[in-house]
Symmetry: C3
Subunit: 169 residues, 3 copies
């Protein structure tokens, strides 16, 4: 049975992170576009893991001083969201998602041989991507805003796209 | 009564697509901004229809090599989302949306003469807009990511805004 | 007890708006990036309030002719969304959010001394941020699209970030 122990809830890091891969870096007339893919393999089926530091490293490497950072799961069984990194809250969020889009229902999608219909629905609740603002070379966030990766079908290789675009200093 | 036959579920095309209208094209110092409106009239009240090819054509016409493609329903009774184009999953998604934001409830909005209160709520579940990354002139998507238009109050003329912004080659 | 009177539902203005603070304005090769923080203190715990005019004023001050306007709550107990400004609908939306993410449950987050676990979950339903398109110096919106701020833990000072980025005329 699916229970809370099937979720990795990590308010401070991203278990299963493998590497950052540089995809493209383009500069033109003071505009910088920098793209990397984060490779990861979450060691449980479900997870909510903190990725703000990984994103901030990419912003540093981009050299963008003012602009946007776009972060997207490259899969349709995962999500990216902004919320608080309090550990009790992570448990609340995981239960809320599981309750609204439960595992193990008789989804039509399973007739295609899959068993992850719930993962597709869960991704609507967190959204699969977000945009974050960059001002003075840093995330222009409020005190408690943190970026999380939500895994709904883990134990396999996944990627997160991060594209930073904006003005050089 | 509302039932699944009221939904058009099309994993490969957009029934009711009418035309793409060019709204604006601006270039400055190697930056390109290109905007089109897609006109459509979905032939049922509800629908989940595949629009990735329509978006890709606009990216091609924009000439943007690296940047973002913003896709938005211009109505508050429709949505835009990224997920898999598997036909069973489309049915799962339609039932999940209908269950969480059902048609025919006694919504206060109906006192204004409307009967589409459910459509407004449904739009929160899918979101009404999304941003997609463009790298090397193409959508920088994972294997199964596809863009869908979600119609929650069809049988009437609607528009989707697509704005492509980024660096020329 | 929480009831509908605890919600401020304002389809035409933002009660509790305090001031707009200019954070940054950068121009380079015809690209303009302009950032402001809106300060507000919603006078009830919950609220759905109309902020399109406040956003439009910032777009005017930015001088951007074609581009994007990014609007984000800087808190993880609030949201930003686009929908209709019909007053009955605001009541429907508030009830729908309360029903799917109820106040007063036995959330684990409350063991940290907080009582706003519901607010964190509510923010997933509306999302916490949005991107809006700007064409010819104005929001490129459909007839009924309006920007709302959703407060889920009010009676305290909050901020909304607005970053406008794009091409000068």
């Amino acid at each position: 049975m699916l229970n809370k122990t099937d979720w990795i809830l990590d308010p401070s890091s991203c278990p299963g992170f493998l590497k950052a891969e540089k995809i493209a870096h383009v500069e033109k007339s003071g505009q910088v576009h920098h793209t990397e893919h984060l490779h990861l393999k979450i060691p449980k089926r479900y997870g909510l893991v903190h990725i703000t530091p990984l994103v901030e490293e990419i912003i540093d490497r981009s050299g963008v001083h003012d602009g946007f950072c776009f972060v997207s799961a490259m899969h349709i069984t995962a999500g990216i969201y902004v919320n608080d990194a309090e550990s009790g809250l992570l448990e609340d969020i995981s239960k809320w998602i599981e309750n609204l889009a439960p595992f193990g229902e008789n989804y039509k999608h399973h007739q295609s041989g899959e068993d992850n219909g719930d993962a597709h629905l869960k991704s609507f609740l967190t959204n699969h991507a977000l945009t974050a603002p960059i001002t003075n070379g840093r995330l222009d966030f409020g005190t408690w805003q943190r970026i999380f990766y939500a895994e709904y079908d883990g134990l396999r290789a996944k990627r997160i796209l991060v594209k930073v675009a904006g003005l050089a200093p």
